[in-house]
Subunit: 393 residues, 2 copies
């Protein structure tokens, strides 16, 4: 017999996500600021495409918000990651360390570069990369040469690492930076989920040489579809803008391109939405954190599961609130998912681990036992900003 | 001494593009239909991202408009081309025949597949691929084997061909299809510029196994940024949707992906704009053709240049109106470009030919003398839909 009371758990989620709602999604956007005004201005001025004042403004304000030197807006977070890898010089057949527990975009971006994902384990404290376990692993499998870090098994260069701030919770960046320095690894933060999340008081995305953000419809703020590269390296920022603008060389009329580039610029129409959403980030964050506090309280009373709390060194956006099933109760996971979803309360497990997917099953990997444990135990629960408002009304 | 009267030419353009305008772009969008209503509905319903009713509707109406079986909306025309190449089975090191006279996206899409662009000449009649010259060339350089067409020089398979309907003017598709059949080439139409253009009464995009459209801000209609794949092959259409949706396997909560996929879906916000624009295509087309007729009349009076007219087998959208400088006057090209642009009348030459760009200069190519001649002679002139209205008022 299970010690998890399915109805009690469903009721716990509903206490926070709304008792009267017939259906509640995992993360839906909310538009209560200047969205109308800015989007309408795009239409009225006819500036809707890849050049326009909202794109410029969005990039400036995004850099300000994240405390980075520069932001380059792109069509989505996947595109941002793809370009980040190119910016740090990833070549075909390089290996790139990424968590096995991540959304597919992280692994796909590596594949787009004809590079090889090399899967790394997570730690329960952050749900992200475990720097200590990684260091021990690299100690065992790597040759450090003047030209970089090489995988002794495959003979390939291990060039970079992409930590993911899972569900908005920062990894232990200081510890990870030490590992990167020691093993000459380029650090790219996959901050797709962590806009508004701070590590030791500073916004995520400031530790990587370049970092990727996402403004997909399910994120804390959205541009419809969109993403950005942020960096403190101005030269790389200029290069990022160049590569994402088809590598076109500036000229009043001539069309010259000096390398393989991409059509990755964010349209002004979407940037307009982004400007309006970004203005509301302080409010969104406060509400997100209020929702997570409520969940924390409520789940204190629910047997068999615990509510995941931000690591002590971080202030998280709590993008997707997460419960962890007790290890003795993991066989209840699918029952919880089935029951909640069938009742109109959207929940989901973590992504299928990358090393289990057909196209990545032969990629190099370390022991992934913590990620495999978390995969059995973690469930995301409804987390939209507007859940906070409904409760107040 | 030149026989081209620069002031007369400038005046000719202004007669059509507006005598009072201080600045006139090459192709600017116009929003006078249901754009705001539909975009506002996205914001009000919070459906702005990659799923939503406008995406579904846009795909259905786009297929109806082009007379194809299915349309799959994507983030831009480059993404559409990239996926088209994957859909017909392009592998690394395959060669893909493309015109040297095209926008960079055609060549980049080939490069994204780690395939090799093989540059083909154009004909003056269509500004696009010359099927007869191509056939003679392939006769000389190819080995036809049971497994396909092979380039005798490079040893590589020549797998596909991408004709571009340049500035909206269809290539001679019937003749090209014969060449494809004979040499076992997959046909992909780059119809990025030819929405609203018909070849022998049928919309472009129906001859390729798959074809690519674009709705960039400078096109006859726009979604801000956007594109589509159209096809009459329903299986390929389903595969296109799958690949462009990160190859996620449908499931109420689980995240499984069965191949390397892409985050290429068009956001609902942009599709809303597209639905409103598509409703106005008949009006846009009528106005575009009226503008081109006026240019034709006006340029009859201008020495040293001729106005480019659609091929006799086509009904073109006249996306970008084009004048051709007489061969004896080609040294005037840059003077014309400088004078017009400095006077606020935007003009431009064709794109720098692909085989002249650093990253493609070592790619295989045939004799490209016609494209090189056209590069010296062609100039695009202002062509926005709203130029027709101003004249009427």
């Amino acid at each position: 017999m299970s010690s998890i009371d399915l109805e009690g758990l469903l009721q716990a989620i509903r206490t926070v996500s709304g008792l009267e709602r017939e259906w509640v999604g995992l993360h839906e956007p909310i538009f209560q600021g200047n969205e109308w005004e800015y989007v309408k201005e795009c239409l009225d001025t006819r500036w809707v495409s890849s050049v326009g004042k909202f794109v410029d403004r969005f990039e400036i304000e995004l850099a300000q918000y994240t405390g980075t030197q520069r932001a380059i807006a792109v069509v989505n977070g996947t595109a941002a990651l793809h370009i980040c890898l190119q910016l740090v010089g990833i070549q075909a057949n390089d290996e790139v360390l990424i968590p096995t527990m991540t959304f597919i975009a992280t692994a796909n971006a590596v594949a787009y570069c004809n590079a090889i994902p090399h899967f790394v384990d997570s730690e329960e404290k952050t749900l992200g990369l475990d720097p200590k376990k990684l260091e021990n692993y690299l100690d065992r499998i790597c040759d450090l040469r003047p030209e970089g870090c090489f995988n002794r098994d495959t003979g390939r260069r291990i060039k970079a690492i992409i930590p993911v701030h899972t569900f908005g919770h920062p990894v232990d960046l200081d510890e990870l930076v030490k590992v990167c320095d020691r093993f000459k690894l380029e650090l790219i933060e996959d901050a797709a989920e962590s806009l508004g999340s701070f590590y030791k008081g500073r916004h995520t995305g400031n530790w990587g040489r370049v970092s990727a953000l996402s403004f997909n419809g399910n994120k804390i703020m959205t541009t419809g579809g969109g993403g950005a590269i942020v960096t403190n390296d101005k030269d790389l920022a200029s290069l990022a803008k160049h590569i994402t603008t088809t590598a076109k060389v500036s000229h009043p009329w001539a069309f010259n391109h000096d390398r393989i580039g991409y059509n990755y610029r964010l349209p002004n129409l979407n940037a307009a939405l982004g400007c309006a959403q970004l203005e509301q980030m302080p409010e969104f964050l406060a509400k997100k954190r209020a929702i997570s506090q409520k969940y924390h309280q409520v789940f204190n009373q629910v047997q068999g599961v615990s509510f995941f709390l931000e690591p002590e060194f971080s202030r998280s956006n709590y993008w997707l609130n997460t419960i962890l099933i007790d290890r003795t109760e993991v066989e209840q996971r699918d029952k919880i998912l089935e029951r909640t979803n069938s009742q109109g309360v959207m929940t989901r497990p973590v992504w299928t681990l990358m090393h289990k997917l057909t196209m990545f099953e032969n990629c190099p990997k370390m022991d992934l036992s913590v990620a495999e444990d978390l995969e059995k135990r973690a469930i995301n629960i409804p987390s939209s900003v507007f859940l906070a408002e409904d409760d107040e009304s």
